[in-house]
C-alpha cells in the first residue's frame, strides 16, 4: 500500500478536536498560522438538525432513549463510548479499566458535564502537603492568567467564594437552586459540609453576539444548538474559522504515528482515512497532540523510529505511566417531604445548580487528597428506565410494594421527583505502575496496535470512597432523607467506580523538569522532540479533586502561546 502525501505543509498539525485540540486550533489560527485538525470521527455541529437530539421527546426514539447504541442513552451526544466498533482495547489480567472515546468533531466536549473548576494553588504542589506523587513544575500563578482569559472567552457561571483552594474567576451569575438542591444545602450545612453554587460552562448570560443564552432544557449532554454551553466546535473551532483562521479539517482520519526525520524531529503525522482505508501523510512544522491522554500516549508509543526506538518522547519510559482517573462513588436517598409534588418545569441547566468543593483537612482522615460532591435529582424527563420499581419506595412509608392498576399509577406520581443522588469525585494518587501500554498482540481494524491497560486502585482511593459514603449518609440524615439500599461494603470497595469510569483519565505524558522522569517540559513540549506538544490531559502531574477540562484548556492555551512564540523566534 502506497502512502499518499498531502502537498500542503502546515504550520501545525493538531491531532484531536476536543478541549485541548480545539483550544490549540483557536490560538494558533488566531495567530495566523496554517492549521490542520485531524479528527478520527465525523464532522459535528450542535446546530445541525440532522444529528440534533436536544429537545427531542422520548417517544421519538423507538427504544425511548435506552442505551442500546449509546452507553448514556439515545440522546446523549457522544458518538462512541466505552466501545468503538473495530477499535478494541485490552486490560492486563486481574485489572480493570474503562475507556471512553468520542469519535466526532469536538470529541467528548459535546456531551460532558460542563463542570469547570480551576485547580487551586495546593493542587499543583500537593507533594509538599502530603509527600505523595509529584509536584507540578508550574504553579497556580503560571496558569491563572489563562484561566482568566478562558473564563471570558468561553464563559461559565459560578460565584465568588474566597475559598483557599477553589480559586474564583470571571463568573456569570449562577441559576437559583432547584427544590431538591435546597434540601441538599440544608443537609450539607447541618453536616458541616461546604456548599456553594456550582461552576459550569453554561451561559446564564450573554457573553457575545454569536452564542445564545441558556434556555434551561437541562440537556447539555445533548449539545446545545444555541451554543449556550461549551463544546469545542461551537466555541473554539467554528469561531476561529469565522475569524478568518486557516483551518483545514480532516475528519474520519485516524492518526497512526507521528512521522519523524533523521534528526528525530517531527515532520507531520501519518493517518488512515476511514472512508477509503488508505494511509496518508500530512506535513507540519509542529505536531500538537490533543487526542486524549490515552490516545496521544498510544500514538507516541506507536511512533517508533531509529531515533526514538522506545516510541516518540519515550526515552524515559514514562509515556503511558502515571495514568489516573478521578475516584467516584455515589448513593441515592428518598426525601419523604418531596412526595406528591406539584409539578412544574425544573429542568434548569444541564447539571447541578449547587455542589460541595472539598472542605476538609486530610491530617486526621487516614487517606490523602479530597473529593467534591455532585448532586442530582428532581422531576426529570422520563425515558427508558423510568417507572422501574416504581412502588419500591413504599417500603419507607409503610405502603405496599408491588401491585397494579390505579394504585400503581398513584405510586408513580407520589414518588416522582422525591429521590436525590450524591456523587463524590476525588483525587487518586498518580502511580508509576498504573499505565497504558501497547498490547503486543492486538491491532484495531486499521492495523494499529491497541492499548492495554494495567490499572489498580490502592487503599488510598478505597478509603476515600468509604469517607464519601459516610458523608453521604450524614448529609442524607441531616436533610431528612432516607438512604436507599445498603451502604456499599468493604468487599465492594465502598462503591468505588472502576478506573476510567469517571472519564477523567489524565497523566500519561506527564510534565516535569527532568527528562528522565517526565515526558514533556512545563510548556508541554516533548523533551525528546522539540516540535511535538501534548495539549490534552496527558501532561497532568496530578488530577486534583476537580474535573480536568478547564485546566486542559487553560494549559493548551498556554502551550499554544508558547508554540506561536517559539515559531516566531524560529526556535522550533
Amino acid at each position: 500500500m502506497q502512502i499518499k502525501e498531502q502537498a500542503k505543509v502546515y504550520d501545525a498539525v493538531i491531532v484531536g478536536s476536543g478541549a485541548g485540540g480545539g483550544m490549540s486550533a483557536k490560538v494558533l489560527a488566531d495567530a495566523g498560522l496554517k492549521v490542520a485538525i485531524v479528527e478520527a470521527g465525523p464532522f459535528f455541529d450542535p446546530k445541525d438538525p440532522k444529528t440534533q437530539t436536544q429537545l427531542k421527546f422520548p417517544w421519538e426514539s423507538p427504544r425511548r432513549g435506552a442505551s442500546t447504541t449509546r452507553a448514556f442513552g439515545d440522546f446523549d451526544m457522544s458518538w462512541g463510548d466505552w466501545k468503538v466498533d473495530g477499535e478494541p482495547y485490552t486490560t492486563k489480567e486481574g485489572t480493570d479499566f474503562l475507556w471512553w472515546r468520542a469519535r466526532m468533531l469536538g470529541g467528548r466536549t459535546n456531551h460532558w458535564g460542563r463542570i469547570s473548576l480551576r485547580f487551586g494553588p495546593k493542587d499543583f504542589k500537593h507533594k509538599d502537603v502530603d509527600g505523595l506523587g509529584d509536584n507540578w513544575p508550574i504553579s497556580y500563578d503560571d496558569v491563572k492568567p489563562y484561566y482568566d482569559k478562558l473564563d471570558k472567552l468561553v464563559g461559565l457561571f459560578g460565584s465568588k467564594e474566597n475559598l483557599p483552594n477553589e480559586p474564583d474567576g470571571y463568573f456569570l451569575p449562577p441559576p437559583k437552586p432547584r427544590l431538591h438542591e435546597l434540601y441538599y444545602i440544608k443537609g450539607a450545612k447541618k453536616a458541616g459540609v461546604t456548599v456553594i453554587p456550582s461552576r459550569l460552562s453554561i451561559l446564564t448570560k450573554r457573553i457575545n453576539k454569536d452564542r445564545g443564552v441558556c434556555f434551561y432544557c437541562g440537556q447539555c449532554n445533548r449539545s446545545c444548538q444555541a451554543y449556550a454551553d461549551f463544546s469545542s466546535g461551537s466555541c473554539l473551532i467554528f469561531p476561529a474559522q469565522q475569524n478568518g483562521g486557516q483551518i483545514d479539517l480532516y475528519n474520519n482520519c485516524m492518526v497512526r504515528t507521528v512521522t519523524t526525520n533523521d534528526e528525530g524531529k517531527a515532520t507531520g503525522v501519518s493517518y488512515i482515512n476511514k472512508e477509503d482505508r488508505q494511509e496518508y501523510q500530512i506535513k507540519g512544522r509542529v505536531v500538537v497532540l490533543g487526542a486524549s491522554a490515552c490516545s496521544s500516549a498510544r500514538i507516541l508509543m506507536n511512533s517508533k523510529s531509529k531515533q526514538h526506538p522506545n516510541g516518540l518522547g519515550n526515552s524515559s519510559d514514562v509515556v503511558g505511566r502515571y495514568l489516573h482517573d478521578s475516584t467516584g462513588a455515589s448513593r441515592q436517598a428518598f426525601i419523604p417531604e418531596l412526595m406528591n409534588r406539584k409539578t412544574y418545569n425544573e429542568d434548569g441547566v444541564g447539571g447541578m445548580h449547587v455542589y460541595s468543593p472539598w472542605w476538609l483537612d486530610n491530617k486526621n482522615l487516614g487517606f490523602p487528597r479530597g473529593y467534591h460532591i455532585e448532586v442530582w435529582g428532581g422531576m426529570s424527563m422520563p425515558s427508558y428506565g423510568f417507572g422501574f420499581n416504581a412502588s419500591a419506595l413504599n417500603e419507607y412509608v409503610g405502603g405496599s410494594v408491588g401491585g397494579y392498576g390505579t394504585k400503581l399509577r398513584e405510586d408513580v406520581k407520589r414518588f416522582y421527583g422525591s429521590v436525590i443522588g450524591l456523587g463524590g469525585r476525588g483525587e487518586a494518587i498518580a502511580r508509576h505502575e498504573n499505565r497504558c501500554e501497547i498490547d503486543p498482540n492486538v491491532v484495531d481494524q486499521f492495523g494499529i496496535p491497541v492499548l492495554r491497560f494495567d490499572y489498580k486502585w490502592s487503599d488510598y482511593e478505597r478509603l476515600q470512597a468509604k469517607h464519601m459514603q459516610e458523608t453521604f449518609e450524614e448529609i442524607f440524615h441531616s436533610m431528612g432523607a432516607k438512604p436507599l439500599g445498603d451502604m456499599p461494603s468493604k468487599e465492594q470497595d465502598y462503591g468505588l467506580a472502576k478506573p476510567g469510569q469517571i472519564i477523567h483519565e489524565v497523566g500519561t505524558t506527564r510534565m516535569g523538569d527532568d527528562p528522565k522522569t517526565s515526558v514533556t517540559n512545563s510548556f508541554q513540549q516533548l523533551h525528546d522532540a522539540e516540535n511535538v506538544f501534548v495539549v490534552d490531559a496527558g501532561p497532568f502531574v496530578s488530577q486534583a479533586d476537580k474535573n480536568c477540562t478547564w485546566t486542559i484548556m487553560a494549559l493548551s492555551w498556554r502551550a499554544s502561546d508558547y508554540i506561536v512564540d517559539q515559531l516566531k523566534k524560529q526556535n522550533i
Binding site: K56, A66, D76, P175, G385, G403, G405
Partner: protein
C-alpha cells in the same frame, strides 16, 4: 445531574437505562428494509444507528398470541382512568414488541414468563391466560403482583419475577409517551427561563431561599446583556 449517574436511575428514572444490551452494529444489508411497523421520525441517528433501527424493525420476535397476552397484561397494569388512557391506548405493546428485539435480554424472561402464565391459567381454569375471564385473570395476577420476600408462595416465584418485568416495561413504555407525560404532569423539555422554585411550592413545604444565596444568582432581566467585569472578576452589569 452527573451524566454517569443517570445510568443508576433506578428511581429517579431518566436517561439511559442500566439494562444490559447489545451494542449496535452495522447490518449487512445496505438497502432499506421494509417493515410493517412504522419507524419513528428522525431523532438524530448516525448511519450505523439507522441501520440498526431498520434491522430491529424488520425483525420479528414476539408472535401474535404473545402480543395479545401482553396487551391484556398491559391494561391490567395500567387501565384507563377518567383523565388518562390505558397502556394499550398509549401503544405500550408496540413498544414492548420493539424493545425485546432491541434489548434481547428481555426475550427469554418474557417469552418464558408468558408460558408460565398460560400453564398456571390452564392448571386453574383450563384456559390460556388471555382467554380466561377478567376475574380469573385478576385471581392469578393477585398472586404474582407483590414481592414475596419470605417465600410464602414459592411456586409463584417465576410469576412474580415475570410480572415485575412486565410492570417495569409497561410503566416505562407508558410514561415515555405524551399520554404518560400528561398523566405525570411533566412540564419540561421546552425552552423557558428558570427563576427558582415557585413561591407556592416553597410555602407548602415551609422551605425558603437564603437571600444571601439568591443575591449571587442571575437577574433574569439582564440575561441578554453582554457580560462585563471589573479587574477583580466582579460582574458590573
Amino acid at each position: 445531574m452527573d451524566r454517569r449517574d443517570t445510568l443508576k436511575t433506578l428511581l429517579v428514572g431518566t436517561v439511559g437505562g442500566a439494562t444490559l444490551g447489545t451494542i449496535g452494529c452495522k447490518t449487512e444489508s445496505k438497502e432499506p428494509v421494509k417493515s410493517n411497523t412504522p419507524t419513528t421520525g428522525d431523532y438524530g441517528r448516525t448511519p450505523s444507528e439507522k441501520d440498526w433501527d431498520e434491522k430491529v424493525f424488520a425483525d420479528t420476535f414476539l408472535n401474535e398470541q404473545e402480543l395479545e397476552s401482553i396487551a391484556v397484561l398491559c391494561d391490567i397494569i395500567l387501565p384507563p382512568t377518567p383523565t388518562a388512557g390505558s397502556a394499550t391506548e398509549a401503544k405500550v405493546p408496540e413498544f414492548i414488541e420493539f424493545i425485546v428485539k432491541d434489548l434481547p435480554s428481555h426475550q427469554v424472561p418474557l417469552r418464558g414468563g408468558l408460558m408460565w402464565l398460560n400453564t398456571e391459567s390452564n392448571k386453574r381454569f383450563n384456559k390460556v391466560f388471555k382467554d380466561a375471564s377478567s376475574a380469573q385473570q385478576i385471581e392469578i395476577i393477585e398472586d404474582i403482583a407483590y414481592p414475596d420476600p419470605e417465600g410464602k408462595k414459592p411456586e409463584m416465584g417465576p410469576g412474580i419475577s415475570f410480572f415485575d418485568r412486565m410492570r417495569n416495561l409497561t410503566l416505562t413504555g407508558y410514561y415515555t409517551t405524551r399520554m404518560g407525560f400528561d398523566d405525570l404532569g411533566y412540564k419540561g423539555n421546552s425552552p423557558n427561563v428558570w427563576d427558582g422554585v415557585p413561591d407556592e411550592v416553597l410555602k407548602d413545604l415551609d422551605v425558603a431561599y437564603d437571600p444571601e444565596w439568591t443575591a449571587k444568582c442571575i437577574d433574569q432581566s439582564k440575561r441578554e446583556t453582554i457580560a462585563e467585569w471589573d479587574n477583580d472578576g466582579n460582574l458590573i452589569n
